[in-house]
């Protein structure tokens, strides 16, 4: 048998394939007037609100489910599944009145039973909801009648409106009639969700595409954007290409580097607004040297964060100045300004503190050297920031050893306070409460004060602020807290990434401009011009 023939056939086939594939994808994607094509950098694994904790899941959940209250300008609560709510004078009993005539996407009617079931499941430890821990002050959720729910709290809590009314998605009790809470985690509901929101899930091809269409039973009428096509494109250049070819309308979470590429094209508009997340270097106060406020202030003065914001991030970030995220304009204390980049002042502080420069270029006092380990989870930007921090600290006489850990190990290490300096972040919540992070009664495992920061005056502000429902009085407390922490530095403020997005001119988003998830809150009312 002649072996050459199969080989030749192989070549012809390959040549044909090559030629044909070249002609392949010149055709553009299907585009119509009523479909919004959104690009995301990743996909969710499930849409079950009881088990998810990823941004991409929250995005879908916001479109498919409703909360009791929505979010308006400046994060104010607006009616959604609840039409009104009020608390008694002490703030330990809340009455929530529900909207009538609401239906689930399978046609079943919505009632208070759904709210009580959702909260029962959320609070039950057997369910394993990661956020259940922050609701330990809720004693009972009771349905007074089919359209009224009462929340009984063990103590007043100022975060109730934001964390309970505006954050929790309500789930259909009738779907889970015979399902025990321990089985909720593996329920197929995560792949086939049913909600009261403006959209329902049509199809989901994991890590590729998720198609949502208008929910015919939605209480708000008919959305002007009838279909949302979420396309998962993992890398930034691919997303750029899709936008440039006109194959997509909205790039959610574009990188600062890629903005430059699209900026030259007049067909796009950009969003660049401060976000709800803060990035900082958490400090472990049990490490000798770091407990000296002069050392902390010197590190803050000696760190060139301006270079990071202007140079590395191309102004797509905001300088950190306070523990409150920059997006919370009402709650940020305007009097607290970011530390300037002043290495001379840093050195002066260290000299005044008795930290003398040794022959190895590292400062020391009484046998204790200013040498610390800087831990961070691996990421390209993180590596650059770490290298930059290390160089800046070396210039003022502090030796930094960089330790890059993979994400899981980093979380584990910080949760067990096995760090000296850790580059981490916090936030995503429009409420200004920072108790779990900074209060001295919140050392792990009780809370998230992994650095063992202790300041009685700050404790008072935080504890009072948590139970003060009056907005003006609450702001005064948090302003005081911000002034004190800016001086005391429980953490080194870094640069906070802005929310960046790019969208085609045919898209007309409705106000207000809130970052991330909140930007899409009103997507059903956006106007789309023909493509």
């Amino acid at each position: 048998m002649n072996r050459a023939r199969p080989l030749r056939a192989l070549y012809v086939a390959l040549a044909l394939l090559a030629a044909l594939s070249g002609c392949a994808a010149r055709a553009s994607a299907v585009r119509d007037r009523d479909t919004l094509v959104v690009l995301e950098a990743g996909d969710a694994d499930s849409m079950n609100p009881l088990i998810t904790n990823q941004y991409y899941a929250f995005l879908y959940q916001n479109l498919i489910f409703d909360r009791l209250a929505g979010t308006g300008a400046d994060y104010a609560a607006t009616p959604m599944l609840a039409t009104s709510w009020s608390s008694d004078r002490r703030g330990t009993t809340w009455i929530v009145r529900l909207r009538r005539g609401v239906r689930w996407s399978d046609g079943a009617p919505f009632s208070a039973a759904d709210v009580t079931w959702t909260w029962k499941a959320t609070l039950d430890p057997k369910t394993g909801d990661p956020y259940a821990g922050q609701y330990d002050y809720i004693r009972r959720v009771v349905a007074l009648d089919p359209y009224t729910v009462r929340f009984d709290l063990s103590r007043p809590n100022a975060t109730f409106v934001v964390n309970v009314l505006q954050s929790e998605w309500i789930m259909p009790a009738h779907v889970f009639a015979n399902v025990p809470d321990s089985a909720l985690r593996t329920s197929p509901f995560g792949q086939y969700p049913i909600g009261t929101g403006p959209y329902r899930l049509v199809s989901w091809n994991h890590d590729q595409e998720c198609l949502l269409a208008a929910n015919p039973y939605w209480w708000g009428g008919v959305p002007s954007v009838k279909r949302i096509d979420v396309q998962v494109v993992l890398d930034p250049e691919g997303r750029d290409d899709a936008m440039l070819e006109g194959a997509a309308d909205f790039d959610d979470g574009i990188n600062a580097d890629n903005v430059r590429r699209l900026r030259r094209d007049p067909r796009f508009r950009f969003v660049n607004i401060p976000d709800l997340y803060t990035r900082f270097v958490q400090i472990n106060f049990r490490v000798p040297g770091l407990d000296d406020v002069r050392v902390r202030q010197a590190m803050q003065y000696g760190w060139d964060r301006y270079g990071i914001v202007h140079g590395l991030r191309h102004d797509a970030a905001t300088l950190g100045a306070s523990v409150e995220p920059p997006a919370l304009r009402f709650w940020q204390d305007a009097a607290v300004k970011p530390y300037p980049f002043d290495p001379a002042r840093a050195r002066a502080l260290l000299d005044a503190g008795g930290w003398r420069l040794g022959r190895d270029g590292v400062r020391a006092k009484g046998g204790r050297r200013l040498a610390f380990v800087f831990s961070l989870p691996s990421s390209q930007l993180g590596n650059e920031i770490a290298a930059e921090f290390q160089a800046d600290m070396a210039a003022i006489g502090i030796a930094i050893q960089v330790r890059v850990l993979d994400y899981a190990t980093f979380i584990d290490a910080t949760n067990q306070s096995r760090f000296e300096l850790a580059y981490t972040g916090w936030g995503g919540n429009p409420d200004p409460d920072q108790l779990t992070l900074l209060d001295s009664h919140q050392f792990p495992p009780a809370g998230n004060n992994y650095g063992f920061y202790r300041n009685p005056a700050v404790d008072r502000d935080l504890e009072q602020g948590l139970v003060t429902l009056n907005r003006a009085r609450r702001k005064a407390l948090y302003d005081d807290m911000q002034v004190r922490t800016a001086r005391d530095l429980p953490m080194l403020f870094a640069s906070n990434e802005n929310y960046l997005a790019a969208y085609a001119k045919r898209v007309h988003p409705t106000a207000p401009e809130l970052p991330g998830l909140y930007f899409f809150d009103d997507v059903m009312h956006w106007r789309l011009d023909p493509p």
Partner: protein, 278 residues
Amino acid sequence: MIAFLRRFARERPAVGGLVLLALIVAAALIGPLLWAHSPTAIDHADLGAPLPPSAAHPLGTDVLGRDQLARALQGARVSLTVGVTAMLVAIVVGSLYGAIAGFAGGRSGGLMMRFVDAMLSFPTFFLIITVEALTNRFSLLVIVLVIGLLSWMGVARLVRGEVLTLREREFVEAARAIGASPARIVLRHLLPNSLGPIVVAGALAIGDNILVEAGLSYLGLGVQVPTASWGNMLQDALGPTAIGAPWLVAVPGALIILTLLGFNLVGDGLRVAFEGSA
């Protein structure tokens, strides 16, 4: 020995490879002493703007303003050290294991080789990544051990094969007759006579190890910031920044390719030189 060297010298590509390697090693050793720029010094004025090659920076600078030539030299030291050391670990472990398995023969020898087969069934690359990610201490020592301990199996097979043929030779019979202990026979007679394939495998292994280390560093699981390695120099080289800065991608890649070319040419030459003596 002289005959061996002469055979090697006749292979011109191999000699070329040797010269290339000598240059690279020399640069790695002496370079940092002659070139003043630091591989980790950051230029605040140029953050986010890599500079093309110039008189001040012959290989350009990267996104943090660090001199690429200094980083390339440091990377040479790191990559070569990891490559050679990991090779030594693999060679030592593999040769001893293979020699013992070959010499023992029979049941126990067979069992030992079954273990090698089992180890070879692992998806090595995935395993390296898993081990690196899980141990999470990225010191050079750990990297060397991980790479070395996951690549000794090939050497073991090779040496076992050699020992099986050598076992029946007269000098081994003679040694046994004198009453030499098995350990002595393995160490003094069998291993030295298997040296040929071991050395060739070693030369080629250095190249492979450098590739593995580069890959690990690129994924962030190898040499850590701020120390430069050819692999982690490529970490920042992807994306829009790199498009305007092709030198960031070209330099580390070219260095890896050249170094591997050197090792492969030398390895090939050694193989020819050894075979001529069989």
